[in-house]
């Protein structure tokens, strides 16, 4: 399967959930997914299209559009395509269904996205901070309106 067939199969299965599906090159594809259908699309990708490997889950803060985006990079061992799935979330209540039941390694990725962006992954088995201390929860350091960086508490040593 090459990249156009994959995108055709995906848009044919989910005509309403998938939008702006484009192929950047022979090995890269991108698509926006509806946030309610993200888990179903991932399940279909894994079962029907042999996309076995979840590379990363991360977040992007588009503060001018008042939106957060959660980005999934999903790759395949059978055909050389990396698919970038994005889901738009409202900035005041960013919630998306967890995909841990589909890709088990999404567990820690989602925990890190949660602690840095505040994106709540529903039905996650263990949603707590991964590398940040517990008392920093709620500050969401990688959001654009975060005020704790640069941290000016250091004494001037010079």
């Amino acid at each position: 399967m090459d990249v156009t067939e994959i995108l055709k199969s995906l848009t044919g299965k989910f005509p309403e959930a998938i939008s702006e599906a484009t192929a950047d090159s022979e090995i890269r594809a991108r698509a926006y997914v509806d946030k309610e259908k993200a888990k179903e699309v991932c399940q279909y990708l894994k079962d029907a299209l042999q996309f076995d490997h979840l590379c990363s889950v991360c977040g992007v803060d588009y503060i001018k559009r008042n939106e957060l985006e959660v980005v999934y990079h999903i790759a395949s061992y059978d055909h050389p395509v990396v698919l970038m799935l994005k889901a738009r979330l409202p900035r005041d209540s960013p919630e998306v269904e967890s995909i841990v039941s589909v890709y088990w390694n999404a567990n820690w990725y989602e925990r890190e996205t949660y602690e840095l962006f505040g994106i709540l992954f529903k039905n996650h088995p263990n949603l707590k901070p991964l590398v940040l201390p517990e008392d920093m929860l709620g500050e969401w350091p990688l959001r654009k309106d975060y005020e704790g960086f640069p941290n000016k508490t250091a004494r001037n040593l010079v």
């Binding site: 590398v131 940040l132 920093m136 975060y146 640069p150 941290n151 508490t153 250091a154």
Partner: protein
């Protein structure tokens, strides 16, 4: 000869315990007497020649720290031996950035070490933050938390620099200028 923290007792209590004709003394009084005498020089000579450091690597400086403890640089000739347990160690080397999440664990290790104990701050990260200066997740001003005797700049410092830092710490202990003991 461990350092015993002097218990603060009011003078009235000491007078009430005094028995006429009998000179009473306390452990802390003996320690204070020793600290002011020449005997402390001999004690410090022993301490400076057995600076066992804790193998607690925290970043890329930790690799240099381990290399310093290995056979090529042979710190054993100065009496500096890597130890795996904080309860056997005299020197803690802060060898990397201290994140807010790691600081409680580092404090716990420091509290587990028996006195007398010293701290060496190794590398730019532990001195000022290095590349992580002004970051949201690292602890700034580490010298306010631990009594640091020697700063070793470098990113990371070479094992020779760490050896030099140990020698400087030995000189400080010999001169009774270290911050690990109250003289």
């Amino acid at each position: 000869m461990g350092e015993v923290k002097e218990k603060k007792t009011s003078k009235s209590d000491e007078i009430s315990e005094e028995i006429p004709g009998v000179i009473t003394t306390t452990t802390s009084a003996i320690h204070n007497l020793i600290k002011k005498s020449k005997a402390q020089d001999i004690i410090n000579w022993g301490r400076k020649n057995s600076l066992w450091f804790m193998t607690q690597p925290m970043g890329c400086c930790g690799v240099e720290m381990i290399a310093t403890g290995c056979a090529h640089y042979d710190t054993d000739r100065f009496g500096i031996i890597p130890r795996n347990s904080p309860r056997q160690a005299d020197v803690m080397i802060i060898s990397g950035y201290v994140t807010k999440k790691y600081l409680p664990a580092l404090k716990r290790l420091w509290e587990q070490m028996p006195a007398p104990k010293w701290v060496i701050s190794m590398g730019d990260c532990s001195i000022s933050g290095g590349p992580f200066y002004e970051s949201y997740s690292t602890v700034q001003n580490i010298d306010e938390i631990f009594p640091i005797d020697v700063y070793i700049p470098g990113c990371p410092p070479r094992p020779e620099a760490l050896l030099q830092g140990f020698v400087e710490l030995q000189e400080k202990i010999k001169a009774k200028k270290d911050r690990g003991t109250e003289y």
